[in-house]
């Protein structure tokens, strides 16, 4: 082989191998390509030994991917531990001792063997040059080249002598360095791929599970709540039918106000309207069902239903907003309500709506001690309390909406004097908060 042909051929190797190495980085399982690289070096450079080792993250050790040449090692027999002289050298010594070359040759070690140099290296590290010599000789290698990823040693290329007896040229060494670097990158990329994929699958499963569970929990809870609300409705005989009527009236009002019903706001409003009196489940019957006026003490007990209702709902994170509506549905616009005496905007808009429609429905409902009044009378009463008990904006919207609705359906206010029912369509079913 003439000197002129040689560099040309080398450039071709370079180009070919660079291409292979680049594509390798994108490979998920680089092992086969790493083996190909080993074989390629073995054949093209004619070496007594070519071994490629990669770092095994799990077991914190280096294992042989492949080994070729007359001095090859049985790849399943041997591993290299983290305390192996070569690993220690490339992992640690290189930086400590400030040595620039990212490779180690047997020739370099020979130079360091004289006492002074040996002392130099020995002082800065706990490594003995002789241990390195022994380690390299055990594998019959002349050249060791490290591959790093972010300063972590991930690969090692171990090379024996050229069968021709020639020495490695600097450009060959730099080529091996690039190659080993790419191999390490490929290994790291594949590890990332693998762990990311595993994590993604795991995560997707967990999210799906959690979502399904949450939805089920929400649906179940909502159903239970609705059943409880109906229970309360039935328990409180005067307000029978109250729940669905309040829900319906509340929606009329919200629509009239052009309230934001996007996302789950609609469900939250529905739940607030349905569940506002849920706390009455915790009010003793002798108070709840008492005909006639309540004593001051009984009234105190009665008032706790807002807080009690909110507490039932507090347990479910999805019902946080609903709980707040329930808690606030007896707050007055001017701050004279209960349980906290909130004022104006401090009270959630849904709760302000509940307050108005709840009061209206109570006024028009017949109670055993009191004949239900007409919607007109109820409007008058509610208007009177606009700005004090009620949000005037809500009151306006409510009255406007209900009048429109009654006109559309040809319902006269007077007809329903004896009945609490406004004979209108059933409220649209709501499917839980989603």
């Amino acid at each position: 082989m003439s000197k002129k042909e040689n560099p040309k051929k080398k450039i071709n190797y370079h180009q070919t191998l660079r291409d292979v190495a680049t594509s390798m980085v994108r490979l998920k399982q680089p092992e086969r390509l790493l083996k190909m690289i080993t074989r390629f070096i073995d054949r093209q450079f004619g070496l007594t030994h070519t071994s490629l080792l990669i770092f095994e993250e799990e077991k914190k050790r280096f294992i042989f991917v492949d080994s070729k040449g007359s001095s090859r090692v049985p790849i399943n027999l041997i591993r290299i531990d983290m305390d192996h002289p070569l690993v220690l050298w490339f992992q640690r010594v290189k930086r400590v001792a400030g040595i620039q070359e990212d490779y180690l040759s047997r020739a370099m070690l020979n130079q360091w063997m004289p006492a002074a140099s040996q002392e130099f290296i020995h002082q800065k590290t706990d490594l003995d040059v002789r241990r390195l010599v022994k380690a390299m000789d055990a594998f019959k290698i002349d050249l060791a080249i490290p591959g790093y990823f972010k300063n972590t040693l991930l690969g090692l290329l171990l090379l024996g002598k050229k069968k021709s007896g020639r020495r490695f040229t600097p450009s060959e060494i730099s080529f091996f360095q690039i190659l080993t670097q790419d191999c390490s990158m490929a290994v790291k990329t594949s590890q990332y791929h693998q762990s990311l994929e595993e994590q993604n699958i795991e995560l997707a499963c967990r999210i799906e599970e959690i979502e399904a569970f949450r939805k089920k929990e929400r649906d179940t809870y909502y159903e239970v709540m609705r059943a409880l609300a109906q229970e309360v409705d039935a328990k409180d005989a005067y307000t029978f039918g109250h729940v669905s009527q309040v829900e319906y009236l509340g929606f009329l009002t919200a629509r009239e106000m052009k309230l934001d019903m996007s996302g789950n706001r609609k469900d939250i409003l529905a739940a607030g309207l349905i569940l506002h009196d849920i706390g009455k489940i915790g009010i003793p019957d002798h108070v709840l069902k008492k005909p006639g006026r309540l004593t001051e003490e009984e009234w105190g007990v009665m008032k706790t239903h807002a807080e009690k209702g909110a507490r039932i709902l507090d347990h479910l994170s999805a019902f946080k907003d609903v709980a707040e509506i329930v808690r606030c549905h007896h707050e007055n616009f001017d701050g004279t309500g209960y349980p906290r005496g909130l004022i104006g905007d401090q009270i959630p808009i849904e709760a302000r709506i509940v307050a108005v429609v709840d009061a209206f429905h109570a006024i028009v409902s017949s109670r055993c001690y009191q004949q239900g009044r007409t919607p007109e009378e109820a409007f008058k009463e509610i208007k009177r309390c606009a700005g004090t008990q009620f949000d005037p904006v809500v009151v306006d919207a409510f009255i406007r909406a209900l009048k429109k609705e009654m006109k559309k359906r040809g319902v006269s206010c007077a007809i329903h004097k004896e009945s609490a029912y406004l004979k209108v369509q059933e409220p649209s079913p709501t499917g839980g908060i989603g």
């Binding site: 050790r61 294992i63 042989f64 090692v73 049985p74 790849i75 399943n76 027999l77 041997i78 591993r79 290299i80 531990d81 192996h84 380690a135 000789d137 055990a138």
Partner: protein, 123 residues
């Protein structure tokens, strides 16, 4: 000179370990089957034996038991890819002097073999 017998059904492993220990001044023989191993022990008992557990025909466990019965002085280091607690316990009960799993660290293997030689020298 210290005598070492390497037993493994893979000739490549035997040859590698033979070369490795010969460079460390051992007199190394190898056997690629259990039967062959027992014959070599009978002919010339080694100080230390590196014994593969999984081999076709007579396996390492059987070889270990035979060797320890007839030549209890021979130090036997089990070298294997199998790493179950049962196997390790079985080998230890049968008198194995150590149990090393593949892939192994050459440095550790060398240290361990030297240790066995030192133990024999003291005894």
């Amino acid at each position: 000179m210290n005598k070492l017998l390497v037993v493994d059904d893979e000739p490549e492993i035997c040859e590698f370990l033979q070369a490795f220990f010969e460079e460390r001044d051992f007199q190394v023989e190898f056997a690629t089957s259990g039967k062959d191993a027992l014959a070599k022990v009978e002919k010339k008992p080694p100080q230390v034996m590196l014994l593969d557990v999984q081999m076709p025909g007579m396996d390492g466990m059987q070889v270990l038991k035979e060797v320890k019965k007839k030549h209890p002085k021979v130090k036997v280091i089990m070298v294997t890819a199998i790493e179950t607690r049962e196997k390790i316990e079985e080998a230890m009960r049968a008198g194995a002097d150590n149990y090393i799993t593949k892939p192994l660290s050459l440095e550790y293997l060398e240290k361990d073999v030297q240790e066995k030689i030192t133990q024999l020298a003291k005894a």
